[in-house]
Symmetry: C2
Subunit: 395 residues, 2 copies
């Protein structure tokens, strides 16, 4: 009698959340230090001191102002601050009017799918991909079309993407730096993708968006640069969140950028406003909006993740595991030692290693290892990874 | 090419928001004190000191804990605190497991409509009603069925409600204390409604929910008591928000109660979780969740609203306006001096009185006057109301 689809979504938690819950229970059983939980993407680096200072500063303002409704698009001063920060970084000319503040990346994406998608439309995702994309796309009445990444380096297969585009294609979702692989898409590939999309727009007489899901934009290693997509492709919607860059995942704060370089951008912006309204988002949390206004240029603390990355990637490679060298985000993509990733994840569990099998991300044979954990967890887990390797070598 | 329905929802702001925006512009033009803005329900009473103390207290905790993801249903300690508070007040036996923390009342309602509604289902609302109900019901693919309140006292017309129930009726939304009328539904009427719903459930072999939208539960005057609905009717979902009771409308914090006295409540609770997930709500803002844990028994400051109510209701009645005596919330329902409420609201505007015509709420001939304003606004507006009355008397 209730909505069966919603019941199923609510009663079958994601494999990631399930593994995380198992880890919590297992830690209670055998001790925190004896479980190596690489399951979830909860930032281990605490929010910067600047966030706390900003909260205390905002709390000096009159409460009716701090906690009152903001316009549904966000407080004007906050939107202006976000636009100005983008302009400083990317040499753009955005205004507050291009920014729609949201309750985090999930809200940003769900709103975009509903804003541009009509029932029956298609959204292309690149597998492996964050599994909630499919939930939100289908909730907008649309279809999630999976196009596999290249199997050698897990970069975009642009030929395959172009081949998957139909007259019903409304957008392609790209996520760079990538969850779960850690790859960053280079500018040359984005230019090639843009050209392919323009060809298909001309062929079908449609508009095809790029939805750039960028919560990891600030979390990159070495000299890697994450190209900013809107100057490369005009029909780009950027979905941003401060969950990872400022370690605020519980606070639900982010934004959608509808660039003023998009043809008829006001029209699309209005659809974004309408979708936010229809889904039940009244405004992004007000106190946190004012915190963002104050922290908009705060750098992310990448050092701890860089140290973890080195220890994990170096350690596992040395043990003989095949890994994709992560350029960004805080995930390592490791090949399972047998074709069945779920069976391999179970075998790893016996060594107290909690790894997410790639089936959750729409592909076979790999695992995601989240390294947003305490550094000792990585160091202390190495003997277990070595044992696991030995077990498979002597099978 | 984008979603036309979303575009329209985004480009046609609600009449209330439009009037509010007009008021802001007009104040800039002729001075704050010369515009009597009764348009919007933004609490004028500031958040209690206890909220600030709670925020500062939470900020003493480690940031990774304060700002980290909570489970999607909410932090266990917060859910337990909300349940315990309800138990103290209403002699119930809820547990944290019955509470789903949300991003405010809009989220609570949107999630409930999606959780229990299947495409084509009907939700009954009592007109006049909060206009966003229709937006959220239709976004769930369902139909909004308006049943008029009684025309003498704007209480529920239970016979009419029963007559409107069909095999497709999934729920009736009740909002007591009521926006826009200020009425509180008495226990005897709720019992009668419950019996009518049970009769129809038996007749059609269906489950019919009451969705009790209760953001104004704490804001009542004199000896008025707001009956708690779940003990009266088993299939009740309570949608709560702290926007009005703690003056936190911008923070987006509330909850859904799925009572353990509802048959098969776990099933419905899972559908609530699924709907939250599908719409893009990951969790309610974490810092504010922990604030609620600390402020769950904080009383609402009703005194200022009571004083405003007396001045406005007393003043307008004395001038000859027909008003419904408000029992709760912070709205006065006033009969327009001509049949066309929109024309009357325009005439009022010429006296710098910003009143919301009842068409926004699905009925003709009345106006909503929000008295969550500075007391002087009410006192100073009386000559303008008197002028307006004279103007109509001498027409």
């Amino acid at each position: 009698m209730i909505n069966q689809r919603m019941y199923e979504l609510g009663s079958e938690p994601s494999a990631i959340r399930e593994l995380f819950a198992y880890g919590q229970a297992r830690k209670a059983e055998i001790g925190e230090d004896n479980v190596f939980d690489f399951s979830i993407g909860n930032p281990s680096v605490p929010a910067p001191e600047a966030v706390k200072r900003a909260i205390l500063d905002v709390m000096e303002q009159p409460p009716a102002q701090v906690h009152g409704y903001t316009p549904s698009q966000g407080a004007p001063s906050v939107r202006a601050a976000v636009a100005a920060s983008l302009n400083r970084r990317f040499d753009t000319s955005y205004e507050g009017a291009n920014i729609y503040m949201t309750c985090g990346a999930a809200a940003s994406l769900s709103i975009c799918f509903n804003a541009v998608g009509n029932p029956g439309d298609e959204f292309i995702v690149i597998s492996p991909y964050f599994p909630e994309y499919k939930v939100w796309i289908e909730n907008a009445g649309c279809n999630c079309i999976e196009v596999p990444a290249r199997r050698d380096d897990f970069q975009m297969n642009i030929e395959a993407i172009e081949g998957a585009i139909t007259p019903k294609t409304k957008a392609i979702v790209i996520n760079s730096p990538n969850n779960p692989v850690g790859s960053v898409y280079p500018e040359c590939d984005l230019i090639e993708l843009a050209n392919a999309l323009r060809r298909k727009q001309d062929e079908f007489g449609t508009t095809i968006y790029i939805i750039a899901d960028e919560p990891y934009r600030e979390i990159v290693y070495g000299n890697v640069r994450v190209p900013f997509v809107p100057p490369i492709y005009e029909n780009t919607l950027v979905c941003y969140s401060y969950s990872k860059s400022l370690s605020l995942p519980g606070e639900r704060i982010g934004y959608i950028l509808v660039p003023n370089t998009m043809p008829d951008w006001e029209h699309t912006f209005n659809a974004v406003c309408g979708a936010g309204r229809a889904l039940g988002f009244v405004c992004a949390p007000s106190l946190l909006q004012y915190v963002i206004e104050r922290c908009v240029d705060e750098p992310s603390d990448v050092e701890a993740y860089a140290k973890n990355r080195e220890a994990l990637y170096g350690g596992l490679t040395k043990l003989g595991y095949e890994c994709v060298a992560p350029q960004g985000a805080f995930y390592l993509w490791v090949r399972a030692l047998e074709p069945d990733a779920q069976a391999f994840a179970e075998a790893a569990k016996a060594h107290e290693l909690l790894l997410v099998p790639s089936n959750s991300f729409g592909v076979e044979g790999w695992l995601r290892v989240s390294y947003c954990v305490a550094h000792e967890t990585i160091v202390n887990s190495m003997p277990a990874f070595a044992e696991l390797m030995r077990e498979y070598q002597t099978r």
